[in-house]
């Protein structure tokens, strides 16, 4: 039964894809019989009225990129793999930094009601600030565009992790803490063997949300600061008016984002428990 349903779902998915791509292809067929008076103009801007590439053109472009993803022909000619690697690297660095800040701080906030109430207003004010709004401040103080985007990633990743860690730690079941108390388990052993495993699913959910946000933000950050990365690539191709390249880049961004989310999804499953 399950496999039959799986096949049907896959067929429906493919059908939808086919329909959308078909409609897209039809919509982007170059119209030859246009008004004669426009011929000169058309020759100038190109033969496509809309300028939007067709799916087949995008497929050709994608194939060209994917054939040599890691070629490096200088600053303006890097393979898509290299650009993505730059972005992923920044995200992972910024994210790791956020983990180092948010998890210990979240533990502290989660164990102390006083700290929780004292810090809450600041967290509530800082959390809704668009991470990109930090960019000028970062560029001015750090004076390095690559490090600045890492900082922006850290800033936007900290909040969901901090809030979830604090929540997970503060809602560890009383009976488990009582078990620890009666077994005279204190300090680091209590934190690592009782509180951390109890809060791990909540913490990882926070990390998953943070990773999603970080991947959204890195594209925008790189568009802003330039240099390398998939965001820069998108912006450069827009300036080149190569929409096929832009659309290909969008697909790759979506794909990588999905893979990152899947990775955190399976990590969450690894630490989750059933009561």
């Amino acid at each position: 039964m399950g496999s039959v349903r799986g096949v049907r779902t896959a067929l429906a998915s493919l059908l939808l894809l086919g329909l959308v791509l078909g409609a897209w292809q039809l919509a982007t067929i170059p119209k030859t019989a246009t008004a004669a008076g426009n011929a000169e103009y058309q020759a100038m801007v190109g033969s496509h009225k809309a300028g939007l590439p067709s799916p087949i053109q995008i497929a050709q472009t994608s194939w060209r990129h994917l054939r040599s993803p890691f070629h490096d022909g200088g600053a303006n000619d890097k393979g898509i793999g290299i650009q993505l690697a730059f972005s992923i690297g920044r995200v992972l660095l910024g994210f790791a930094l956020a983990v180092l800040i948010a998890i210990p701080l979240g533990f502290l906030v989660g164990t102390s009601q006083l700290l929780q109430r004292a810090l809450n207003p600041y967290i509530q004010v800082l959390k809704p600030i668009s991470p990109l709004a930090w960019m000028p401040l970062a560029l001015y103080t750090i004076q390095d565009s690559a490090l600045s985007s890492i900082f922006v990633i850290t800033i936007c990743s900290v909040w969901p992790m901090l809030i979830n860690t604090a929540h997970g730690v503060s809602s560890v079941k009383r009976e488990w803490l009582n078990v620890a108390r009666t077994l005279e388990v204190h300090g680091l052993r209590r934190a690592l063997h009782v509180v951390l495993p109890a809060a791990a699913p909540t913490i990882l959910t926070g990390m998953r949300i943070s990773m999603g946000i970080a991947w959204l933000v890195i594209v925008a950050a790189e568009m802003l600061v330039g240099g390398t990365g998939i965001g820069t690539f998108v912006w450069n191709e827009w300036n080149n008016l190569s929409l096929a390249n832009v659309i290909f880049a969008l697909l790759m961004i979506g794909l990588v984002g999905m893979l990152l989310d899947l990775a955190f999804g399976s990590l969450t499953r690894l630490v989750s428990y059933q009561e």
Binding site: E175, W176, T182, L183, E184, A200, Y273, Q274
Partner: protein
């Protein structure tokens, strides 16, 4: 009752701060009793009389308002590995397997033990509660009875001076409850462990306890009577009801719970009318 008892509870009372501008009333007051080494003492009473609070104070998880508890002559200061607890809802750590739950407790008790020694010790207790073969299951994969067996193994494995059991079988169905009661008796016989148990099940008290403390209803609950179990120690669930004195004892306890437990409120004479007369009555078989 010679020499110093293992547990000596003296003039214990507990007041929870209630709503404002109302005189706080103690849940229980003037509670005293003792538990001897190797004894199985059962505290029985209606829910709300503060039974669990008494146990939590013994465990060190809660503080008494007045009075003191001496364990081996020393006042208690917080929870300790000397006092093991079997929680009502087993309180197993759900991310650990049955075996790892026991290992966690044993490691806490003897941090310097080597892994092989810990494993051997844990296996002994897992075998005692007939969990052999299910050691590597998570609590969520175990039935209620199996979970409580893990709890028993964990509690006994740390070999505390006294084991505190808080209505340990209340959440189990009758069949499972009976089986685990039998197992508890076996382990108790094998380990000579001192046990203090809370229940509201009269038959459980009669089957398990050497002495039964009867607690009146709260507020101002007291220990009204201490009944020494007159039935022979080799009693089992199967033979219990054939002993003629079983019904006398059962009727006496039920009579207390159903009608008399509420009458001692506000300083009626409780303890002086305690153990002796009742037991004499039971001995002579006159009691009804």
């Amino acid at each position: 009752m010679a020499k110093s008892p293992l547990i000596a509870v003296d003039n214990l009372s507990k007041i929870f701060s209630g709503p404002r501008n109302r005189e706080p009333v103690p849940v229980f007051e003037r509670v005293d009793f003792t538990v001897e080494r190797g004894e199985l003492v059962c505290l029985i009473g209606h829910s709300g009389c503060g039974k669990s609070t008494v146990l939590n104070i013994l465990a060190g998880l809660d503080d008494a308002t007045t009075g003191q508890v001496l364990i081996d002559g020393l006042p208690i200061a917080g929870p300790s590995l000397d006092r093991g607890i079997l929680f009502q809802n087993h309180a197993l750590l759900p991310w650990l397997t049955a075996a790892r739950n026991v290992v966690f407790a044993v490691r806490s008790r003897w941090p310097s033990w080597e892994a092989a020694e810990v494993a051997r010790h844990c296996q002994k207790y897992l075998d005692l509660v007939h969990l052999t073969g299910s050691e590597h299951k998570k609590p969520s994969e175990l039935s209620g009875g199996m979970k409580q067996r893990v709890g028993i193994a964990r509690a006994f494995a740390i070999q505390p001076k006294v084991l505190l059991l808080d209505e340990p079988f209340g959440a189990l169905d009758a069949l499972t409850r009976g089986l685990i009661q039998d197992e508890l008796l076996q382990i108790w016989a094998a380990t000579q462990q001192t046990i203090f148990l809370i229940t509201h099940d009269v038959d459980e008290a009669i089957l398990l306890a050497d002495r039964i403390l009867l607690m009146t209803n709260g507020p101002r609950a007291r220990i009204a009577e201490v009944v020494t179990n007159p039935l022979p120690r080799d009693r089992t669930r199967q033979t219990l009801h054939r002993n003629p004195r079983y019904y006398d004892l059962r009727n006496h306890l039920l009579d207390f719970l159903l009608s008399r437990s509420g009458r001692h409120v506000n300083g009626a004479p409780p303890r002086s009318a305690g153990a002796r007369p009742v037991n004499e009555a039971l001995e002579s078989g006159r009691l009804q």
